[in-house]
């Protein structure tokens, strides 16, 4: 009798209680431990692949680490690749919270960049504190409207957004190519047709002391704000209800149209910002290099992050790090450039498969600690 009491009391009092701090830690650590474990498993599987080809996995991973995270330069390399991908991933993740699969972020990037390149000439007379915000907002708005239109077609016309967003992405790229080689072409851009170069004071520079442009900060802020929007506001709460069950949401009187259009357009606007930074911070004018495939990489990142804006940040850094290491691996180990693609395939499949492991481990479920095994 007393023994039982003491035992229950012990459970209640101790850190092993389901309400204790250790329990809270255990619950939270599942979301980190499982993907990290899966990442390691994926890397291990890729080691076997390398081993079978007669290449040394240890040397390979040492080079990947060195080129992606091992030096100051490596971090600059990784983070410069991170910037556009963060914003591209938001274009997929935000609509996904409402249950929409939008895969046309590439078009939004291209359009955002094109708008920036096209308007820059007319704004060169203004001070940069006026002109740069105008360009940024215009690029984001153009892309937001473009992708928002896909959501409108979905909501008002029943047009499937997956296929519509892909088709509009191809159309946006064609439009950009047409304008850049035709009406908007700067005659001086001889062998690389482009819009007129941005005036020096309209260019967006680097973060002081870094070799990475401001798009990185904007991308991180975009992820943080999106997280707050989804997790901490009534709008986000309503969006999650719509994503769970649109019909129930409609019955409850949620503003379905505004939510769907708003979230999708916001996602598009973020991707548009990525395009603006490509033009204003990297290329200096809009041209065919804008269609660099960031939009498609963004789809992968968003799904790996389970459409959680906070998770997008580490996933993107990991992916960008892999890409940053591609060159060194090619040069030092005589492996083809596609090696990094295969590595990404292995690790990302492993991470996605690991989703079925949630709830399987007793150590992450404090309420089961006192139960007999």
């Amino acid at each position: 009798m007393a023994a039982t009491d003491r035992a229950t009391g012990w459970w209640k009092e101790s850190r092993f209680s389901p309400d204790g701090w250790l329990a809270a830690l255990a619950r939270r650590s599942e979301a980190i431990a499982i993907p990290v474990g899966a990442l390691l498993a994926g890397l291990a599987a890729f080691s076997l692949f390398l081993f079978a080809l007669g290449k040394a996995p240890a040397e390979f991973y040492a080079l990947v680490y060195k080129a992606a995270f091992g030096t100051w330069f490596s971090w600059q390399n990784t983070l410069s690749r991170t910037a556009p991908l963060l914003l591209a991933a938001l274009c997929v993740a935000l609509p996904a919270r409402l249950g929409l699969v939008v895969i046309g972020g590439e078009g939004a990037i291209v359009l955002g960049g094109l708008t920036c390149g096209a308007l820059a000439g007319g704004l060169s007379g203004f001070h940069s504190t006026v002109a740069i915000p105008v360009l940024t907002v215009a690029g984001a708005a153009a892309a937001g409207i473009w992708v928002g239109a896909v959501a409108a077609l979905r909501h008002y016309r029943g047009v499937n957004e997956t296929i519509a967003s892909l088709l509009t992405a191809y159309i946006a790229i064609a439009l950009m190519n047409h304008l850049v080689e035709g009406p908007l072409r700067d005659p001086a851009s001889l062998n690389k047709p482009s819009t007129a170069p941005l005036a020096a004071h309209l260019r967006i520079g680097d973060i002081p002391g870094w070799d990475v442009h401001w798009g990185l900060i904007v991308g991180v802020l975009g992820c943080l704000l999106s997280w707050v929007l989804i997790e901490r506001t009534t709008w986000g709460f309503a969006a999650r209800i719509v994503g769970g069950n649109p019909r129930a949401a409609q019955i409850q009187g949620l503003p379905l149209a505004r939510l769907i259009l708003g979230f999708t357009a916001l996602g598009g606007a973020f991707a548009g910002l990525a395009g603006v930074f490509e033009v204003a911070a990297v290329h200096g004018s809009a041209n065919a290099s804008l269609a660099a495939g960031y939009g498609y990489t963004g789809i992968l990142i968003a799904f790996l992050a389970r459409h959680n804006p906070l998770a997008i940040i580490p996933v993107t850094i990991l992916l960008a790090g892999f890409e940053a290491s591609s060159g060194l691996v090619q040069r030092r180990m005589d492996l083809p450039d596609a090696t990094v693609l295969v590595l990404q395939g292995f690790t990302f499949v492993a991470i996605l498969v690991s989703e079925s492991l949630y709830g399987r481990f007793r150590m992450f479920a404090p309420e089961r600690w006192s139960l007999p095994r």
Partner: protein, 308 residues
């Protein structure tokens, strides 16, 4: 050669020829995806499967000097990718769309990785049948040089349509795709059937790749696909999961794709990027015209993650 000048007639002829030449990969991928999606899963990774099929088909055809063995190898490789997707997605909570995207990356990566030694060699092409023997015009003769795979694709479209409509296997796939609960109540194993359907769909995509590398354009390079696989998967929604509609959509895509070069060659100046975008604009227009808010997902399998 002494080809007659056929003037503006070249445009409709090029559209016909393009429809026959360019449509086959779209047709195979979308038929494969119909099979997969009808069972309740989406495999967005067929682009990667197609690229790997193109590489493996070309490599095997080169090594054996037998193009049809190449096609078989591509189908086998494709079915392995499909099988993997099917098995992995049978685990609880694994997202089929996400796995598809990761497999797109993996398939493309593996194809590039192992395909380097096969960019240079010349592999034998698949044979074609001349349906244009009756014409004196070389343009017509060439336009009607039809690859056997195109004909097989048409047959498969009809066969799948009939299968879904009138056979027991077709019914099983549809039941599994419409309701897991109902399928379980009937004593079926949904995961098993879906895995097989995805494997078969992968094989189709592999063949589509082999068509690209072994017939048209008929060589292996890393830029061989330009996104046909992804587009074809999306076109399945447009075709409303109907194999016959897949055929028409593929024809539409192939035919309008030929518009750009044909108009330039007929002397219609300028704006070729806009002509090249014709397939996308036309498809979008048709999509908007044929959609309606009340039947947004008519014909969609009930278990599909995008229709739930």
């Amino acid at each position: 050669m002494n080809e007659a000048d056929i003037g503006l007639w070249a445009v409709p002829l090029a559209i016909l020829a393009g429809a026959i030449r360019v449509s086959t990969p779209f047709l195979f991928v979308s038929l494969g995806e119909v099979l997969t999606e009808r069972s309740g899963r989406i495999n967005l990774g067929l682009e990667g499967t197609l690229v790997f099929g193109a590489m493996s088909g070309y490599a095997v055809a080169y090594l054996t000097a037998l193009p049809w063995i190449g096609v078989l190898a591509a189908a086998l490789a494709g079915s392995l990718f499909g099988l993997f997707h099917g098995l992995v997605c049978s685990l609880p909570r694994v997202n089929d769309i996400a796995i598809g995207i990761a497999l797109m990356l993996l398939g493309t990566g593996l194809a590039y990785f192992f395909g380097k030694p096969y960019i240079q060699p010349v592999a034998p092409d698949l044979p074609a049948i001349n349906f244009g023997w009756w014409s004196d015009l070389p343009q017509v003769q060439v336009a009607l040089r039809v690859n056997v795979l195109f004909l097989i694709g048409i047959l498969l479209a009809g066969l799948l349509w009939w299968m879904f409509r009138a056979t027991r296997i077709g019914l099983l796939i549809r039941v599994v795709g419409d309701s897991t609960d109902a399928a379980r109540a009937m004593g079926l194993k949904p995961a098993f059937i879906r895995t097989l359907a995805t494997a078969a769909g992968g094989a189709f995509a592999g063949v589509a790749g082999a068509y690209l590398s072994l017939f048209y354009p008929g060589s292996w390079s890393e830029g061989i696909s330009s996104g046909q696989g992804l587009m074809a998967v999306a076109l399945v929604i447009f075709a409303r999961w109907n194999p016959i509609a897949c055929f028409w959509v593929a024809i539409l895509f192939g035919g309008t794709g030929a518009l750009g070069p044909a108009l330039q060659s007929a002397g219609i100046p300028g704006g070729y990027y806009l002509f090249y975008a014709a397939p996308y604009v036309l498809t979008l227009g048709l999509l908007i015209a044929t959609s309606s808010p009340t039947r947004a997902m008519a014909g969609a399998p009930g278990e599909l993650s995008i229709s739930k």
